[in-house]
């Protein structure tokens, strides 16, 4: 977008002129006078795109005006509107735009500056299996040291490396949320990661989480629910988080079985029994994690009739010696004891259960429509789920095209993730940030850090979980942090990095052309009283309208 160079100047100029502040007021602030002394930043083209500036330039404006309704629609489909998304939306029209969002191409690099940051991460060029094996070795070596002090030092070094690995996936994730043109996929990636929650700080999940997000969740985020479920089941992050790596014949651990039924598929109270949980736990025996590299791994000694049953796929291992080969009765079906194929059979039953269609539809509607979606909407989505064998994009389409969706626009309270990402998207548009650290910090302060929910239920999705008094006060502090300056977002991660000049500019052309009309009188009045661009930004990002999507 255009209004980028010389941001403070332009922000000040536009804000002040549009808000109709008198020049005398401007003179009271040294900062403002100074800004007005540097009009050189405002090129004619830039001035043209600013509606308040008069100019004879005839080039068509790059930023389109959207109706309030289109704006709110786009705001919900994306992590938050910005001029780039508005432009794309205007060029494609709603139907085509939605189709592209629902069926994104597989591998699209992000804008160059963002992609370069991702490419520089260790997780981008080292396979999970390699660094897990390396770290495993480091941990063993550390634990084998006899001197307690030296051992503690080595264990600390191991923990430091773990922490380093643990930070990388969140960097990639946030950059995608900010800059991917396929915003719906990124929102769904967050949604499913939360649905199939694992916690960063359990065991060595910091080494597994990036691969889990990138290879188990994201490729299936808009695909088939059955594939998504199976991908999480085969991932070491999930098997470890819910202790299925401890689940073996004679030593049953029901943890994962229970959560699959209660949280991942059918939901509590949908008619299954404790017996079903126990039988599923038996079915899941033997599905675990093997961290050794394939070349150094030994296949366990198997009885002759189970030769060939052993499966090793990356870190996933199915060990027949740990599996319960008895027959099971699960959800009223007899499942013949025969190894890994039992799990596929159980997943088919779970993914096709009507309760699952309903539960997943309801949860999607809570995320995208309202805290209390109507039974009619959920029924419609669940019917689509069943008819399409769990095609997530189809279920979403049914939801997005429902009248209830349109009626809900602009009314959903943003969770911290939506709040922060939408603010940074709007404030900087396609000017790529150089450091996601401040965003991770804000997410932590607002208690919704990525991969940071300890318990398998994931973060709550409803408004009441995020709008408490302390939470609102924190939100306003974050509004101020984002609105008052570049906040560290443009200072790279290395110790030598220099802070690059940048200034948040939510008051961009999109604001003047479209966003402003969605604000209420109280908000406009408060914004009129802003005494600086920083102040204006803070108030705007703290406004009740900006809390909702």
């Amino acid at each position: 977008m255009r209004l980028r160079l010389g941001f403070p100047v332009i922000a000040a100029a536009i804000t002040m002129s549009v808000l109709g502040l008198r020049l005398a007021e401007l003179d009271t602030s040294g900062r403002f006078s100074l800004l007005f002394l540097s009009p050189v930043f405002l090129s004619p083209a830039e001035a043209a795109s600013a509606p308040a500036a008069s100019s004879a330039d005839t080039r068509p404006p790059e930023v389109v005006a959207l109706s309030a309704r289109d704006l709110e629609w786009l705001n919900r489909i994306t992590w938050g509107i910005n001029p780039s998304s508005a432009k794309e939306f205007a060029a494609l029209g709603p139907d085509k735009y939605l189709e592209r969002q629902l069926h994104p191409p597989n591998d699209v690099p992000l804008p160059r500056e963002a992609q370069a940051q991702i490419d520089a991460l260790a997780i981008s060029h080292t396979p999970m299996q390699t660094f897990v094996a390396d770290m495993d070795q480091e941990s063993r070596t550390a634990n084998a040291i006899t001197d307690p002090d030296q051992r503690q030092a080595a264990q600390k070094a191991y923990q430091d490396s773990l922490a380093r690995f643990g930070r990388e996936p969140a960097i990639r994730s946030v950059l995608r949320d900010l800059y991917s043109p396929y915003q719906l996929r990124e929102q769904l990636t967050w949604f499913w990661l939360n649905h199939f929650n694992v916690h960063l700080y359990k065991s060595n999940i910091r080494l597994l989480i990036g691969d889990y997000e990138d290879r188990a969740i994201r490729p299936h985020a808009l695909g088939r629910f059955r594939d998504l479920l199976a991908a999480t089941l085969r991932h070491p992050a999930m098997l470890r988080y819910l202790d299925n790596d401890q689940n073996a014949v004679g030593h049953i651990n029901e943890n994962y079985a229970r959560e699959i039924m209660e949280l991942h598929t059918m939901a509590v109270g949908s008619g299954y029994t404790q017996n079903d949980v126990q039988e599923l736990a038996r079915i899941l025996t033997g599905a675990g994690v093997n961290q050794s590299l394939p070349q150094s791994a030994t296949v366990p000694k198997l009885p002759p009739e189970r030769q060939g049953q052993y499966v090793r796929d990356g870190l996933f291992e199915f060990n027949p010696n740990r599996h319960d080969y008895g027959d099971k009765i699960f959800l009223g079906h007899t499942i013949k004891g025969r190894g890994l194929a039992e799990i596929d059979e159980a997943l088919d039953l779970l993914a096709r259960a009507p309760a699952t269609a309903r539960f997943i539809s309801h949860k999607l509607a809570v995320y995208f429509v309202s805290d209390n979606p109507s039974p009619q909407l959920v029924d419609k989505m669940a019917a689509t789920f069943r008819q399409t064998d769990g095609d997530i994009a189809a279920v979403l389409k049914a939801m997005f095209t429902a009248p209830e969706f349109k009626a809900s626009l602009g009314m959903q309270f943003k969770d911290p993730m939506h709040y922060i990402i939408s603010a940074v998207r709007l404030a900087y548009d396609d000017k790529v940030i150089l450091n996601t650290g401040p965003i991770q910090g804000w997410l932590g302060r607002m208690a919704e850090p990525l991969y940071g929910h300890e318990t398998p239920d994931g973060y709550p999705l409803t408004e009441a979980a995020w709008n408490g008094p302390g939470q609102m006060a924190t939100r306003f502090e974050i509004a101020r942090a984002i609105g008052s300056g570049s906040a560290g977002l443009f200072k790279g991660d290395s110790p030598q990095a220099v802070d690059q000049p940048a200034f948040p500019q939510p008051a961009n052309a999109l604001y003047f052309n479209s966003l402003r009309q969605t604000l209420g009188a109280s908000t406009l009045q408060a914004l009129d009283k802003a005494i600086s661009p920083q102040d204006w930004n803070t108030l705007f990002l703290a406004s009740p309208e900006f809390m909702r999507r």
């Binding site: 051992r151 359990k202 209660e262 300890e454 709550p460 302390g470 006060a473 703290a542």
Partner: protein, 396 residues
């Protein structure tokens, strides 16, 4: 508690008459603070079973010596069987001697997972272990739902599980990192004006008000610190701030303290654990000081997810165990004693031949305290801890 219920309680239950005065009135004065030691503190080296030869046999490098007035590293006598870690000599031992601190040995949960993760959740949720967990219903939020005059607050970075759920919104404050609010008064007023007439107006006003209160408290403390020259750090700083905040406005609080998972090089009378205990002791004594006269209406409960193995391991540390020792303190607490079911500390009494058993289940114990301080009737205690029979240990 409502007056009507109070009167009903009095007529139903005799123990409410304590020392000739009606205990429960007035309700709003009671301050209740839960201090959660996350990571499972080594109870056996903190409240030391000094009468047990088996203890000294089981901990050749870690054991705290039997009480001996001439030895600064010896345990401080609590009663015939127990002694206190010497790191608490100047902070909590005086409170014990004054009768304001009681210890409940063999305390904890029935959770046998020995997982920090699992058992902390168990404690915070306070639900029955045989049912499926409801992560949206912590026991402290259920307590809030039972009383109308509570001003709850969590002194933690995130709202802990125990305060989740319920209908009212409970504020949390990162008590260790209170800075000058960036949003100034003028901005706060403008922000409030934008929310006028919206559903969020009360939360927004309350949020600024809590924020200001916390900052005011911290500023006052800073001025004091300048006079005293030494400014407290870590938990001591946090606990003093909490004392200041619970002096006036807030009367139900939760705070957690980490760093107790001592698998390696735990230390004995000195060393790692001694350092953690010293800080904890300074914090709790600082809380008592900072809250001022309201200390007489305060009840502080110190809990931890489980105890540690009774025997030391090969790394001069201890591993995940079962039974712990919980603490109850406050100006009106009937302390200076060991409270609850006890058993002789010897090999035969260990649970699974490795840990303290749990003889005092924490929900029953807390239920008993809630009954005492809030006058909650059994049917309402059931809403907080379903299917638990409260155990009245006459602690307050």
């Amino acid at each position: 508690m409502q007056r009507r219920e109070f009167l009903r309680m009095v007529s139903l239950t005799a123990p409410l008459m304590i020392a000739g005065r009606l205990y429960a009135a007035p309700q709003t004065r009671t301050r209740f603070l839960v201090v959660f030691l996350r990571g499972a503190y080594d109870a056996a080296n903190t409240i030391v079973p000094v009468a047990s030869d088996f203890y000294y046999k089981s901990r050749p490098t870690l054991a705290i010596a039997r009480p001996n007035p001439g030895d600064p590293n010896a345990a401080l006598p609590l009663d015939r069987d127990w002694g206190l870690h010497p790191a608490l000599k100047d902070t909590l031992y005086p409170l014990y001697k004054k009768g304001q601190l009681a210890f409940i040995p063999f305390a904890g949960t029935d959770d046998l997972s020995r997982s920090h993760f699992e058992t902390q959740d168990t404690i915070e949720l306070g639900q029955s272990l045989d049912a499926s967990r409801d992560y949206r219903s912590g026991f402290m939020s259920r307590l809030v739902a039972q009383l109308t005059d509570l001003e709850p607050i969590s002194f933690t970075d995130q709202l802990p599980l125990t305060f989740r759920g319920g209908t009212s919104s409970i504020p949390n404050i990162s008590i260790g990192f209170v800075g000058k609010p960036g949003v100034d008064d003028r901005q706060a007023k403008l922000i409030e004006s934008m929310y006028q007439g919206t559903e969020l107006a009360p939360q927004v006003a309350e949020g600024f008000s809590v924020r200001d209160e916390v900052y005011k408290e911290v500023t006052a403390e800073m001025q004091e610190a300048n006079r005293n020259a030494v400014s407290p750090k870590g938990f001591e700083l946090a606990a003093r701030r909490i004392g200041g905040l619970m002096k006036s406005r807030f009367n139900l609080g939760f705070v957690d303290v980490g760093g107790w998972d001592t698998h390696v090089n735990e230390g004995g009378a000195t060393g790692y654990l001694a350092g953690r205990l010293g800080e904890l002791g300074r914090g709790l004594a600082g809380f008592a000081e900072a809250i001022g006269p309201a200390w007489n209406d305060s009840v502080v409960v110190v809990i931890s997810e489980f105890g540690r193995t009774f025997r030391e391991n090969g790394d001069r540390g201890t591993d995940h165990g079962h039974g712990s020792v919980y603490w109850v303190m406050g100006g009106a607490v009937k302390g200076g004693r060991m409270v609850g079911e006890q058993v002789k500390v010897e090999q035969a009494s260990l649970f699974q031949n490795r840990d303290y058993p749990v003889l005092n289940e924490y929900r029953a114990m807390l239920g008993g305290i809630f009954h005492r301080i809030y006058g909650l009737a059994p049917d309402r205690l059931q809403k907080i801890f379903p299917a638990v029979q409260p155990k009245d240990l006459a602690l307050v």
